[in-house]
């Protein structure tokens, strides 16, 4: 009996372009490669090849509609390249579909990150901006996935909260769990607004019909207003089956990126500010930085030791 082989082959026919094309071009030879008995081989001879193509195409479209929600700006930017939509489609394969559902968005995003150097007609600056955007969205996926995994393993995740700590700035601080930080060329909220207009639930369909124009990409990415995107994954619905995870975000000016490197659980914000002052920072800037950190503490993105 080799029903497991039949199941595997069925999945490959639906999600592996190469396997499907071999099946379409030479069914007999392709099926002979699998460890199947004759009656099991016959089960696949009932497949109408064109109908299989229709099914595989629809299935890939629905899957990408789903995964697009986790990587909206990345998807939009990829669509603006000549082979972008094809690249996104080709990344749906049997290997991905055999991976745990909870990990698929991360795997898909990682694959896109690897493919960034192959994108044609983008200058070095655009490449670095697009890389930063992919990294930021991947960071959020990663924290959400990790939190979800912990939630499913333990059934409950206690939220790290802290109430009105008056001496917060004099105590050591560290990043809270499930927090990601990424430098972006512009505020993430603006990038989303400019590059992902319309109904997000229908975004993949819209991108396939009307990909982002290269000229629009060039124009949007030409503006520089760098921001540090800090995002904290939070359980918005506790469940032993399918917890829902949302992100709380704060966007800070680019100067925070350097300071963030010193947030390690041993230094306090007052110590950081003292060093900053010594380097010649004016009082107004120090106040603004302190307010930014206070905001992070209030939103439980920084944990006071």
């Amino acid at each position: 009996m080799s029903f497991a082989t039949q199941e595997r082959l069925l999945l490959e026919l639906l999600f592996d372009n190469e396997v499907r094309h071999r099946f379409i071009n030479n069914m007999e030879a392709m099926l002979a490669d699998y460890d199947l008995e004759q009656h099991e081989i016959n089960d696949f001879k009932t497949i109408r090849i064109e109908a299989l193509e229709v099914d595989a195409g629809m299935r890939r479209h629905l899957f990408l509609s789903h995964i697009c929600l986790s990587l909206p700006v990345t998807f939009s930017l990829f669509s603006s390249f000549e082979n972008g939509i094809s690249l996104l489609k080709e990344n749906v394969n049997a290997e991905l579909m055999l991976s745990p559902p909870i990990e698929r968005a991360t795997l898909f995003g990682n694959k896109l990150r690897e493919q960034l150097p192959t994108l044609p007609n983008a200058n070095a600056k655009e490449h670095s901006f697009i890389t930063a955007i992919v990294e930021a969205e991947l960071g959020m996926i990663w924290t959400a996935t990790t939190l979800k995994q912990v939630m499913l393993e333990k059934s409950f995740v206690e939220e790290e909260t802290q109430n009105q700590i008056t001496d917060w700035s004099s105590r050591p601080v560290k990043l809270a769990s499930y927090v990601s930080a990424a430098m972006l060329p512009q505020p993430y909220s603006q990038l989303k607004q400019k590059l992902c207009p319309g109904d997000h639930s229908n975004m993949w369909t819209e991108l396939t019909q009307k990909p982002l124009k290269m000229i629009r990409r060039n124009k949007v990415l030409a503006n520089e207003d760098p921001r540090l995107l800090v995002a904290r994954a939070m359980v918005s619905y506790q469940s032993v089956c399918e917890p829902a995870i949302d992100h709380q975000t704060i966007e800070l000016s680019e100067g925070f990126a350097h300071l963030f490197q010193h947030i390690n659980g041993t230094s306090s914000i007052d110590q950081l500010l003292a060093a900053f002052k010594q380097a010649g920072a004016p009082a107004s800037l120090l106040n603004s930085v302190k307010t930014g950190f206070k905001n992070l503490v209030d939103k439980n993105m920084l944990i006071v030791g």
Binding site: M1, F3, A4, Q6, E7, L10, L11, L14, H39, E40, N42, D43, F44, T46, I47, R48, I49, E50, A51, L52, V54, D55, M58, R59, R60, H61, L62, F63, H66, M97, L98, S99, P100, P101, I102, R104, Y237, S239, V240, C241, E242
Partner: protein, 297 residues
């Protein structure tokens, strides 16, 4: 047949709706000529839908829960946790029975919704697959507190040589479960296989069919013939109406006919419900179903 399906309530003519989008289930239920019950494909956790369900029930309509995350076939078992959460969901909303397509919703790497595979993957129609489907259905029956109904899924193509209704006869009889027939899915089988449902009808234990679905669809033309695509937001196809008319006289125990109309405009919903109601009155072999329409009117 040991399960006494006659004990199940007759729900009449209903609508399958998305709880969070148009058309609004409560508006439909409260309108003249609206659905007598509401079916929904909600999330596994009942807390996420209970407020909407309570609104529908307060408007006077019972609900049926019809999810899309149960493996009723294949090698990959359902998670006990998901099944227990499902059982809690069914009990909380008082769903009279529990039906879903016999298809793969998730692969071996973890329980999930069928959206993770795009949508349902139909089973391979052979003996080995049938045995596993029996195991999967029994696995669900052990935990969910109500009658389980199995439904042939929509399909673009067929894998396997066992006729559809032979597979479902064996499955229903071995597990002593009920059957739900979606008219569009039967059209999809005819197009995918080249077989005619009418020629297989004698294979199916027709008395086990308790629910019928009617829904919109699309046909994609290929050089080797048409391919049916399940698309609830679209018009009900002539082929589906014809299948409905053909099947109604053959199904004596139907207790619910459901128009799946997520994202269909309200006027069209009422027009279709009206047409479905008339067809039931003219062609159905289920007297209790016809009587329930009269009562509702």
């Amino acid at each position: 047949m040991t399960t006494d399906l006659s004990q199940l309530p007759t729900l009449g003519l209903g609508a399958s709706l998305s709880l969070s989008s148009k058309p609004d289930p409560v508006t439909l239920v409260k309108s003249e000529g609206g659905p007598q019950f509401v079916e929904y494909a909600g999330l596994v956790d009942v807390e996420r839908v209970i407020d909407e369900v309570a609104r529908i029930q307060a408007a006077g309509a019972p609900v049926l829960y019809h999810p899309s995350y149960i493996n009723f076939c294949g090698s990959f078992p359902n998670s006990k946790t998901w099944l227990e959460t499902t059982a809690k969901h069914i009990a909380a909303v008082n769903s009279a029975w529990f039906a879903q397509d016999v298809a793969y919703c998730f692969w071996e790497s973890g329980h999930s919704y069928s959206t993770q595979l795009g949508y349902f993957i139909p089973p391979i129609f052979n003996e080995a697959s049938l045995k596993l489907a029996i195991t999967r259905v029994k696995e669900v029956q052990q935990i969910v507190p109500v009658t389980v109904a199995v439904e042939p899924p929509p399909m673009c193509f067929i894998t396997g040589t066992m006729p559809l209704f032979t597979f479902f006869r064996e499955l229903a009889e071995e597990t002593d479960c009920a059957i739900l027939l979606d008219m569009g899915h039967l059209v999809s089988y005819e197009m995918a296989s080249g077989n005619q449902i009418i020629n297989e009808l004698n294979q199916l234990p027709l008395e086990r069919v308790i629910e019928v679905h009617v829904a919109g669809g699309k046909i994609k033309s290929t050089t080797s013939g048409p391919v049916y695509v399940d698309a609830h937001e679209c018009q009900i196809l002539d082929e589906t109406w014809a299948m409905f008319k053909q099947m109604l006289p053959a199904l004596p125990n139907v207790k619910a006919v459901c128009f799946e109309c997520e994202n269909v405009n309200q006027k069209q919903v009422f027009n279709s419900l009206h047409k479905i109601r008339n067809l039931i009155q003219q062609h159905s072999a289920s007297h209790t179903l016809i009587d329930s329409l009269d009562t509702a009117a």
